[in-house]
Symmetry: C2
Subunit: 412 residues, 2 copies
């Protein structure tokens, strides 16, 4: 499996990457975008995603106790497990604005429902951008009117949600399951994830598979746990973070649920992991993807804690940027992760070379390791706690510039 | 009360700042340091602190599950509540070295005990520097022999423990309590506390007060909670972090305990807060001290969580560096701190100006606020949750350079 930005995954014969895949790759989904005027430059900043049929719908939202108006509204509407469209803007988060924010988010949905001739309750809303500034509703009103929906509109949608992103993030996978074929596509925005980065992440996923609503919500939560929640530490979220999943059933497959949804879950995980990794790679000044796998933890939750702590450690990030095999920083980040460890049982691997065995440094070749780290834009860290069966993988990017200059010259 | 680096505290008539105060300001304490050769340049890197009488002794150590050999050794010896000397080196942390590390730390203590003609069990050890490299014991052996103890040796001791620090950190306070006078002095090392900074912090505190051992340990833990634990987030510690407190009783005061130790506790808090703030001010590229007070939390623990989360938020730090009154970042950091909040009850003050009232932004003067932030090297953030009586203060520094360039140009 390969996740570099131009080289995609084909996990096994069951999955196939859709060429130029996006959220309108699955049957029956249309999208469109416009420059409404929220952003000052002539960039796309308002977009609509629409399904020809009402969808089973699921969502996972920010754990921040401060929630934007669109999050409050969408979370409430998703309790029905159904939606048919999503309207989204960038440039203004519509957060920290009290009742005005709720009224504006609600009007955005109503205008979209009217345009699409569907019920307002079937429209979800998302916003990303500046906090505490009211939405310029004149721009939103005329913008929604102007948007034209296309079968290939996913690419414009992906551009319209960008803020600090340097490139759009899109993917679609065709799944050839036992008795049916279906497509899962996704787009996302969000860059950085330098801890503690509060840049909003938004993700929109569509599928033409027929999926039961309860399984849909559960599978989305699982996929988010294995992807977006592994590129940042717990609770490290903006008021606007949202992941949406719409399933319209147009693929004509046997209804998927907990008993027959394995391929769906795996494909959904792949889509989310790909999009999460794309966010990490788009981090400010990032040059390397750091993949941290922790094995042998007492529990899986502890493996997750430990992997995230290492991947989000500023000093690990700076060491990797400087191609320094500074295993001490890995061990220290592990030690403060909260995961149970026994120092004398600890093995640590950097790019598959053992740098610490049973709690003591090995005599690995420092120069060879530096050369290997320099030569690749991926750094692999593997930590074996040798205490149990808990295993998890997290991703981070390196950290460059002045902060590195200071931290990579002093070895701790 | 004023904590800028050259302008010290006189809280009320009870406390008086000792001129050029340090750990040898209290009666009966001697110290000395040498260049042993651990550091390559001709810098002090090995030091001894000694009391003419055995002391009641207390210690607070790292919460990292990876602990350096000196921490393991000192923690064990302090279970007796007694010590008479501390030997410390910089340049090598003696961490992640298994049994070899324990043996070396133990030998350091024994050599010091022999030199001072006291029991080895009465000698504590601390080390700070590179992880995973064995202590150069030849340097340590000849160095300990060479060290000469002086009544004014605290200043050399303070220099000998420095690593990334740009200046030594020392203070002493004379306390005029009801029936006695005593002095509390302290030195510390540690710079940065840029989250998640793993630079070791060491702190050594001496007093000639006569203090019961159980109260001594309890008062040190309280002082650490109000100071060093409020400049970083929970668990964000290196394997070597240690705070030591020795009390030799030479002031001849009435024995201090839980019933009559209030002035002692307050003075100890001041010493620790001063040293903690000095560390923050010595942060990499730091230009401002950020003081965050959270009031009205349901519990004090939640106020502590919230204050720390705001003070350690990278985006708050960058905003303050850019003199941007970006209250949105404060609210977002608060929202993910885990503290209970009700958005509609939230008031936020920046340098005593209300920037958010009842969850909505006020129309404060952005330009005046920018000018006020620019003019001062202190930034005050006050958050009123208006839910209960929990209150806490935390400190952080601003964050400069390239990371700021990226983050301060985009308002989230």
């Amino acid at each position: 499996m390969c996740y570099s930005i131009n080289c995609f995954l084909i996990k096994d014969s069951m999955f196939e990457l859709v060429s130029s895949g996006t959220i309108t790759s699955a049957k029956g989904f249309l999208a469109g975008a416009t420059h409404s005027g929220i952003k000052t430059e002539d960039e796309l900043d308002l977009a609509i995603l629409y399904s020809e049929l009402p969808c089973a719908a699921a969502g996972v939202f920010t754990t921040n106790r401060v929630k934007s108006a669109p999050v409050i509204l969408s979370q409430k509407r998703l309790s029905r497990g159904q939606a048919q469209a999503i309207v989204v803007n960038s440039g203004c988060a519509n957060a920290c604005l009290g009742q005005q924010g709720i009224a504006d988010a609600s009007e955005m949905a109503s205008l979209t429902a009217k345009k699409l001739e569907i019920g307002a309750a079937d429209v979800l809303v998302a916003s990303t951008g500046i906090i505490g500034i009211p939405l310029p509703m004149d721009c939103i009103r005329s913008g929604i009117e102007r948007i034209k929906l296309h079968q290939n509109g996913g690419h414009d949608f992906a551009r319209a949600i960008m803020t600090t992103d340097t490139k759009p993030k899109e993917i679609a996978i065709k799944v050839d399951a036992q008795r049916s074929e279906f497509i899962i596509g996704g787009v996302a925005k969000g860059a950085g994830m330098v801890h503690p980065n509060l840049a909003t992440m938004l993700c929109f996923i569509t599928t033409d598979a027929l999926v039961k609503a309860d399984f849909l919500q559960s599978s989305l939560q699982r996929a988010v746990n294995a992807s977006f929640n592994m590129i940042s530490i717990d609770g490290d979220t903006s008021p606007s973070d949202s992941v949406f999943l719409l399933a319209n059933g147009l693929a004509g497959n046997e209804t998927l649920g907990f008993d027959n949804g394995k391929a769906f879950q795996e494909a959904l995980n792949e889509v989310c992991i790909y999009l999460a990794q794309s966010m990490v790679r788009d981090g400010e000044g990032a040059t390397k993807l750091i993949e941290v796998t922790v094995e042998g933890a007492i529990k899986q939750t502890q493996a997750r804690q430990a992997a995230r702590a290492i991947a989000s450690s500023t000093l690990v990030k700076t060491a990797i940027h400087g191609n320094e095999p500074n295993w001490g920083r890995i061990v220290v980040a592990l030690g403060q992760s909260g995961a149970e460890i026994v120092e004398g049982k600890l093995d640590v691997y950097l790019n598959n070379t053992c740098v610490m065995r049973q709690g003591c440094p090995t005599s690995f070749g420092q120069e060879e390791m530096r050369a290997a780290l320099s030569a690749s834009d991926n750094a692999l860290i593997r930590v074996c706690l040798n205490l149990g069966n808990g295993k998890a993988t997290a991703w981070g990017c390196d950290l460059s510039e002045e902060y590195v200059t200071i931290n990579s010259e002093y070895t701790t």
